[in-house]
Amino acid sequence: MTEVNEAPKGASSGGDGVDGSEPLLKLRGIDKHFGPVQALYGVNLDLPAGQVTGLCGDNGAGKSVLTSCIAGARQPDHGQIYFDGRPVHIRSTRDAAALGIETVYQDLALADNLDIVQNMFLGRELLSHGLLNEDSMELQAGETLSTLHVTTVRSIRQPVASLSGGQRQAVAVARAVMWNSKLVLLDEPTAALGVVQTQQVLELIVRLRDRGLAVMVISHNLNDVFEVADRIAVLYLGRMVAEGSAADFDRQSVVEYMTTGSSSGRPFEPAGSAGGEG
């Protein structure tokens, strides 16, 4: 294999490797450049339902650009996105939301002065007779939070400013999953959290997966990635250099892919394909 991009193509041609079904979201040959700077080179990525995919990469590898292409915040220059097997164009965050793609940004995008319910429904308020229907929103928000087992908040009518970092993350995630979403993108969900709260957020991610959602976690923290990810994808300088089941990776190899684009001097080969790792 001379071209690094060959590997994931090979991986995907054999199905997603876990249950053989079509992944919920498929990226094929995504290119993106900003002026003369090429940010993504023909990136392929599969995000299957019911699995957590960890997206790794050093700073500037293109994680954020790739995420924003899926979230609808940016459009790829070339390439095709398939959702549920159908080719789609995601031109805006609204398009993404209509498909069931929700993004939890690193800064969480919560308004501190609004309470939990108000934040969860921001931009999508329920109305009755032209006025806000607070009771329905409160009921639905409470339901969503309890299905996610977010039980540490005392009242969902308290302002978000009074919440801990983990609770804020939980509110942001709950907001993302409340809309029958099918794919949730989490940008550095544990970056600002302490040990206990990180654990709570990771448990929350597992619960999303158990509900059958496709989850993509963008993270620097390999501990977190290995704890929750079923699949791992590594970007290096805008190229997808490795993508496969988490069992095919160890910490050492992920770090090497992140920093050099190859492991032990060889490009990634999924365990299932001919030739194997050795």
Partner: protein, 453 residues
């Protein structure tokens, strides 16, 4: 879960800062039985105290300040005249323009901007309305004149808002320009530096505008109106709490709802009682609730509805709290900002009309200082509890702050201080403003520290 604020979730031990939110873990106290009323009242008081400590002190400080001002001026004014019914009614009339302008300013402060032009735009709106109701000229019906004035002001606000929202010029600069511009235009409209415009109580069409502030309803009608208001407010409060309880949501205990309704009734009875005392001379009987009180209450009700119960209001708070979050949620920042400025200016225009009415239907460039108006308006909003940094405050804060400012201004004028009187009318509100802003900054710092992850 989380239906009742008394309920702490089971499980997940040690959720970090959940500690500062915990009261006694009452467990599954989803529905509060009546015999636990005292306990849940205590819970509510505790929740309220937490809000106060987190900087959302609501109306408490300004109400305390008003009580303090009332007591102090009652003691120091000659003949202890401050709390006479005639003075209290006069203070409300004097404060009207501050209250209405402060409500106008509140919506702009909520999106973390400032509008320095409310004073000049208010006077502009007042003069437009006064000009339109009389000959020579068009002599429009009074309501049409008011609508034209409000629309003209809204247009001014929309232009300023567009400059702020689309061209990203700081609102401080835009509205400072608007302030100077309309201070000048005002003089032109009035017909020169000594110009004036007045409406007369003897012309039927001008009568309504003349009497907007001074007009009174009969004492009996006052009681009837009060009964209707208390009945409506009480029914709404009661039904809303009942609906929440029925759906299993956290609702105030019935006792608290009763207390709230009783408070509304109590304040209303006090106001009507005071207004129904004859405040005229031995020759002329002057009694009854002045029109301006229901007018201000209507503006307050409208703004409260808009800010608390509409999408626009929710987005105003969201932009004040975190504009980036609002933008990502699909809120049109420019649209909401422009509307906020337009509605602010329209409300200011109404304040200007009321101001002219308060001064017995006369406007002149000599008596009105747009600069002082805007400073009092901003001070009133901030003193009332509206945050200068956006996202925090309600219309009621503007009303209470305006009353406090008007009370101080009038109290000082009662003191017979001679040459000290005028400077004190600036110094005292200024000092109160600094205290209020200091509290705002400190409380914001307090909450800012607690959640910085």
């Amino acid at each position: 879960m989380t239906a009742d604020p008394g309920e702490t979730g089971a499980g997940t031990a040690g959720a970090g800062t959940a500690a500062d939110l915990t009261a006694a873990p009452e467990g599954a106290a989803a529905v509060v039985p009546p015999e636990l009323l005292a306990q849940s009242l205590r819970q509510y008081l505790r929740a309220w105290w937490l809000r106060v400590r987190s900087g959302n002190s609501g109306v408490l400080p300004v109400v305390l300040a008003m009580a303090l001002v009332a007591v102090v001026f009652q003691i120091v004014t000659p003949e202890h005249a401050f709390l006479r019914p005639s003075n209290l009614v006069y203070i409300f009339g004097l404060s009207t323009v501050y209250m209405v302008l402060a409500m106008a300013e509140t919506v702009v402060l909520l999106i973390a901007e400032v509008d320095l032009s409310v004073g000049a735009v208010a006077l502009f709106g007042g003069v437009v309305a006064f000009k339109f109701v009389q000959q020579p000229g068009s002599a429009w019906p009074w309501w049409a004149a008011i609508i034209v004035a409000l629309l003209a002001c809204a247009a001014v606000g929309a232009v300023q808002g567009t400059l702020v929202a689309r061209l990203k010029i700081p609102s401080f600069v835009v509205s400072l320009g608007g302030f100077l511009l309309f201070s000048g235009i005002l003089i032109i409209v009035l017909g020169g530096a000594d110009g004036f415009v007045n409406v007369s109580a003897s012309v039927p069409n001008q009568r309504v505008i003349y009497y907007l502030v001074q007009g009174r309803i009969t004492p009996v009608a006052g009681w009837v109106a009060l009964a209707v208001v208390v009945g409506v407010v009480g029914t709404v409060l009661w039904l809303r709490a009942a609906a929440r309880r029925r759906q299993g949501l956290a609702a105030p205990p019935a006792g608290l709802t009763v207390i709230r309704i009783a408070l509304v009734a109590l304040v209303g009875v006090a106001v009507v009682l005071i207004c129904n005392v004859n405040r005229g001379t031995s020759l002329v009987t002057v009694e009854g609730v002045p029109w301006v009180i229901p007018i201000v209450l209507a503006v307050l009700g409208a703004w409260t509805l808009v800010l608390q119960r509409t999408r626009f209001g929710r987005y105003v708070y969201a932009i004040g709290g975190n504009p980036e979050a609002a933008r990502r949620a699909g809120v049109s920042l420019a649209g909401i900002r422009t509307w906020a400025f337009a509605l602010c200016s329209a409300t200011a225009g109404l304040g200007g009309i009321l101001l002219g009415s308060f001064f017995y239907g006369e406007y002149s460039t000599n008596t009105q200082d747009p600069g002082q108006l805007v400073l009092y308006a901003i001070a009133a909003a901030v003193i009332g509890g509206v945050s200068l940094f956006g996202g925090r405050g309600k219309a009621i804060h503007g009303v209470l702050g305006g009353l406090l400012i008007g009370g101080i201004a009038y109290g000082v004028s009662l003191l017979n201080l001679g040459s000290l009187s005028t400077p004190l009318q600036y110094i005292l509100p200024g000092a109160v403003l600094l205290v209020a802003v200091g509290v705002d900054v400190l409380s914001r710092r307090g909450t800012g520290g607690s959640h910085s992850v």
